[in-house]
């Protein structure tokens, strides 16, 4: 091939490839469901996160938190908290200020839905089949420390999902009414004002709502967590549609004393409950009782009741109150160094 023509052909091919590839990238950015670069999915998420201002609570706590848009007409999902004790003000990413009404809430999910009068707003659709895994990268977008005011966008933080687990209960006192699965985050997300913020996956899809400042009741340490979007999906949908929300209550309520199990009826006498936390050691087993039939013995330590940890005699009594008297009770006990499962049949 002649020199000059060779050069021109080469450059044409190069130019063609450059145009083609650039075009593909531009097209992919326009396509909301393709996988855009980080800088763009962070900005997209920011546009859907709002700043919520309300009441400061009795002890002068922060009067602000975060929320995110879940419908184009201005439904805002946020955390159910003291901030909403007065009708809240919502500031959008572009600085527009709205007075909001609380149109629905579900304390068991720590969820509240606000409504502002607007339209054609960018919003997070809540997908059905998202199954986040531990290790997945996430972005948390919130107005932590109220650093963003007016038309400043909310702050973006990067982290990963540390683990997915149920919030553990302790001694029957739930610091939060929600005790389902949470996304524990490898990120210091637990900051004033962050509650209600959006947690999105690496494709920009909403996977959770940042939780409130809460201590992990098992360890006592501050917990960085988000409530999974899948858990909130149906309730948010019901509230938006104006339907009454029916939450399946899978908590275990205390039954009336004459309807639930108790130690005496099972035939168990424990060691004297004198300490603040007395371990549930069996002192005596009464003859002809479910405990005797299951072959429980003195000095056995009761560890689990129906799969739930027994931390003390007090918690054992509360746990038995949640089991119907007519049902079997599963125990796990420790005898010397062995762990044995037992079923007590009434």
């Amino acid at each position: 091939m002649r020199g000059s023509r060779f050069i021109s052909v080469t450059w044409l091919i190069a130019l063609f490839q450059f145009v083609a590839l650039s075009g593909m990238t531009v097209l992919s950015q326009l396509n909301a469901f393709a996988q855009p670069p980080l800088t763009s999915w962070a900005r997209t998420a920011q546009q859907r996160v709002v700043k919520v201002y309300g009441a400061g609570g009795l002890t002068g706590l922060e009067a602000y938190q975060s929320g995110f848009l879940v419908s184009p007409e201005g439904h805002v999902a946020t955390a159910w908290s003291y901030v909403l004790d007065v009708e809240p003000i919502v500031l959008l990413d572009d600085g527009r200020r709205f007075e909001a009404k609380i149109v629905g809430f579900e304390p068991a999910l720590e969820l509240a839905v606000l409504k502002i009068e607007a339209s054609e707003l960018p919003y997070f659709p809540i997908h059905e089949e998202l199954e986040p895994q531990w290790g997945d990268p996430i972005l948390a977008v919130s107005n932590l420390f109220n650093i963003a005011t007016g038309d400043e966008p909310a702050s973006v933080m990067q982290g990963t999902i540390a683990t997915i687990s149920n919030l553990s209960a302790r001694r029957g006192t739930f610091k939060t009414p929600y005790h389902g699965a949470v996304l524990v985050l490898d990120l210091i997300a637990n900051n004033p004002g962050a509650a209600g913020g959006a947690v999105v996956d690496s494709s920009g899809r909403l996977i959770g709502m940042l939780g409130k400042e809460l201590r992990d009741t098992a360890t006592g340490a501050w917990l960085n967590y988000a409530i999974p979007a899948g858990v909130l999906r149906k309730t948010i949908g019901d509230i938006i549609a104006g339907r009454s929300t029916t939450l399946i209550d899978d908590s275990t309520p205390m039954l009336d004393r004459d309807k639930s199990h108790n130690l005496a009826a099972l035939g168990l006498v424990l060691i004297p409950d004198v300490l603040e936390i007395t371990p549930a050691y069996v002192d005596e087993v009464l003859e002809g009782t479910p405990a005797a039939r299951a072959n429980l013995q003195p000095d056995d330590l009761i560890l689990l009741v129906n799969g739930k940890r027994v931390e003390s005699q007090r918690s054992l009594r509360s746990l038995l109150r949640t089991v119907d008297r007519r049902d079997d009770v599963e125990f796990a006990i420790q005898r010397e160094s062995q762990i044995l499962p037992m079923v007590l049949r009434p």
């Binding site: 290790g135 687990s165 360890t219 330590l301 560890l303 420790q334």
Partner: protein
């Protein structure tokens, strides 16, 4: 000359090569464009997959540890029975965990295996040096032991992943960070910035390939009474290196605890970071003494590792424990000597001695060189120095070691043997003399008196000292102090930090009513501090007390060696209350600031780790009792850690302040 045809062929070949080259570049170049719009999201996803793969390599060996039935006092924020993690180390059922699981007695320790089943565990042995505990379970299931031997490089900045199990289902939990540093905490730990919350303690720290770097432990640096869990989720986490764990496993499996190994060297320099490894003194009946180490030796190498400062010696010893023998190379009078030293679990505690002098350091300039001389300022009456030394004497050498400053003299006396005469070389006028003085133990009955020069000062018009308020911007505590006015020429003053009991009257009132006059008479500044909360003192206030001490010291000519912390419980008839416990906590954790602590005999001792006195501190304890058989039980631990106990008898405010001011005596 070449034929024309050949030229053309060569030219064609060259141009063909260059054209192909250009063509290839041209094809490749456009791809750089979109590639430069790098896809961060893709990177994150790939990293997430890599982290999961790495974690999954060790997760079969990672367990959760649950504690049942323990007392409910929390460890700071962290609950006493917080669930943590552990690792299976062999198929026989040995599980290694952080010693936080045995920090208080419990009814049961449960190991939750990866499949969710629970096994009861018993304690086999503890590594007290590294805060690890070895447990054992009896399991019929196949256990997957963790591999500590996997080879790995350790580069600062490399990716590290903390792995554990969390929750009642023992779900996998991770946190990603980088390797921040090595040989931390006196040579025992790796440092990472992964967010390690209590659930991850006892879990492995791995690299991106799944190789184990170490085991995570809760730890903080020295010098605080805070809990070891205080730094959770703070970007600073510690792990014991896997290769060190391997070396200790056999001993732990045999049921023998591992304890830190002591060597018995008294450093010449008070600052462990200063250059120089000279040995000022060797502790009696210590491994160093048995191996033949002598004062004046310079330590060159610890087990092959060259050392230049005393801190490096401590770091090098971090890998070794009591019972291990190490090779130490020293330099003595120009020769290199190799010694083998077997580290010991304990060394007979220090019994600090006193000559009875108050010294000052004077800088001498000889031509270009500057050196420090230790000059005797005052001699205390009724002490071993009384007949032997005079004011103005220059102390050159004590116990065979050259004195570089008053501090080095102090250390030599702290580490001296009781009732054994020591050699003191002095220069008096133009003459040098060698004296043999038998020091007296600091511990025992309080018998000292002021030097006559000080009494003379006090005899004249006792100047009025002022009571002033003291406020620090960061601390809400109320405080006041009584000190000489700015025009005063008083110097070498003492300082007593008086901690008030919660609910007691204001610091200003306490000082004005009881202490102001005595303070002026005895030449000791008194600073009274009240707790922030009217019901109790809190460990976090230790820092406040130290800051206030520093602030007061700027207000008058106080000798740094005459600083004491005490309470009204230290006076005859006082009782042991919250302030006494706090005073002990402050003194023990800040023993480089406080040279004395005075409390009631009925003090409830604080839950602070009492570190062995390594001749670095001069802390002494003063209790208002008369006879040694009145010593309370808790004093035994203080004594065996090497801190002398002084019996004040019927202590008055005057004798207490005298004691404080005389803390600067050696």
């Amino acid at each position: 000359m070449r034929p024309r045809s050949l030229n053309r062929r060569t030219k064609t070949r060259v141009s063909l090569v260059s054209r192909t080259f250009v063509f290839t570049i041209a094809l490749a170049l456009p791809w750089l464009g979109p590639a430069c719009l790098a896809d961060d999201a893709d990177f994150q996803r790939v990293m997430a997959a890599a982290v999961r793969t790495a974690a999954n390599r060790v997760l079969p060996s990672v367990v959760a540890i649950e504690i049942i039935g323990t007392s409910n006092t929390a460890q700071g924020e962290v609950e006493q029975d917080a669930p943590t993690s552990g690792v299976i180390v062999d198929i026989d059922g040995h599980v290694l965990a952080s010693s936080i699981v045995v920090s208080s007695p419990s009814a049961s320790l449960l190991v939750v295996l990866p499949d969710g089943t629970r096994q009861a565990a018993r304690v086999v042995a503890r590594d007290h040096h590294r805060d690890l505990v070895l447990l054992r379970i009896d399991s019929t299931k196949t256990l997957v032991p963790i591999d500590f031997t996997s080879p790995n490089t350790r580069a600062i900045g490399q990716t590290t992943i903390a792995v554990g199990r969390y929750g009642s289902e023992a779900s996998p939990m991770i946190s990603r960070g980088v390797l921040s540093a090595q040989d931390r905490l006196d040579g025992i730990a790796l440092q990472s910035d992964a967010r390690v919350s209590p659930a991850l303690y006892g879990g492995p720290l791995i690299d991106l390939y799944g190789n184990v770097l170490g085991l995570l432990i809760p730890a903080i640096a020295d010098g605080g009474a805070e809990e070891s869990t205080s730094w959770y989720d703070s970007g600073i986490a510690f792990a014991i290196p896997g290769d060190v764990i391997l070396r200790k496993l056999d001993q732990l499996k045999s049921g023998r605890d591992v304890k830190k190994g002591l060597i018995g060297i008294v450093a010449k320099t008070s600052d462990p970071f200063q250059d120089g490894t000279e040995v000022a003194a060797v502790r009696t009946r210590s491994p160093a003494e048995s191996a033949g180490l002598k004062p004046g030796d310079n330590v060159l190498e610890i087990d092959g590792t060259p050392v230049r400062r005393h801190q490096e010696i401590r770091q090098a010893l971090g890998r070794y424990d009591a019972g291990e023998t190490i090779a130490v190379k020293v330099e003595r009078e120009g020769n290199q000597i190799d010694l083998r030293i077997t580290l010991a679990e304990s060394i007979p505690p220090l019994q600090p001695q006193r000559l009875g002098v108050i010294t000052r350091d004077e800088t001498i300039t000889q031509g270009e060189d500057q050196s420090t001389q230790v000059v005797v300022g005052e001699v205390l009456p009724g002490t071993p120095a009384d007949d032997m030394l005079r004011a103005g004497d220059i102390l050159l050498k004590v116990r065979g070691a050259d004195l570089v400053d008053s501090d080095s003299l102090r250390r030599l006396l702290i580490s001296a043997e009781p009732e054994q005469p020591i050699e003191v070389r002095i220069r008096r006028g133009a003459m040098e003399e060698v004296l043999s003085i038998t020091p007296r133990s600091v511990a025992g009955q309080w018998l000292l008196n002021f030097p006559t020069a000080w009494n003379a000062d006090a005899g004249e018009d006792v100047e009025t000292w002022e009571v002033k308020d003291l406020k620090l911007p960061e601390a809400p505590n109320e405080a006041a102090y009584v000190a000489p006015t700015a025009e005063s020429k008083a110097n070498r003053l003492g300082l007593l930090i008086l901690l008030l009991n919660p609910g007691q009257s204001s610091p200003r009132e306490v000082l004005a009513s009881t202490w102001a006059d005595v303070a002026a008479k005895t030449g000791a500044v008194v600073c009274a501090i009240a707790p922030e909360d009217s019901r109790r003192w809190q460990p976090k206030e230790i820092e406040t007390v130290v800051n206030m001490t520093a602030a007061v010291m700027k207000q008058a000519a106080i000798s740094p060696a005459a600083v004491a912390v005490g309470t009204t419980g230290a006076l005859a008839g006082g009782s042991g209350e919250a302030a006494d416990t706090m005073a002990l906590a402050v003194a023990v954790s800040q023993s480089t600031t406080f040279f004395g602590v005075a409390v009631s005999a009925m003090t409830r001792p604080p839950g602070v780790r009492l570190r062995e006195n390594e001749a670095a501190t001069s802390l002494q304890l003063m209790i208002p009792i008369e006879k040694s058989d009145e010593l309370p039980a808790w004093c035994a631990a203080v004594k065996s850690a090497g801190y002398p106990i002084v019996r004040g008898g019927k202590t008055t405010t005057e004798s207490l302040l005298q004691w404080a001011r005389l803390l600067q005596s050696i």
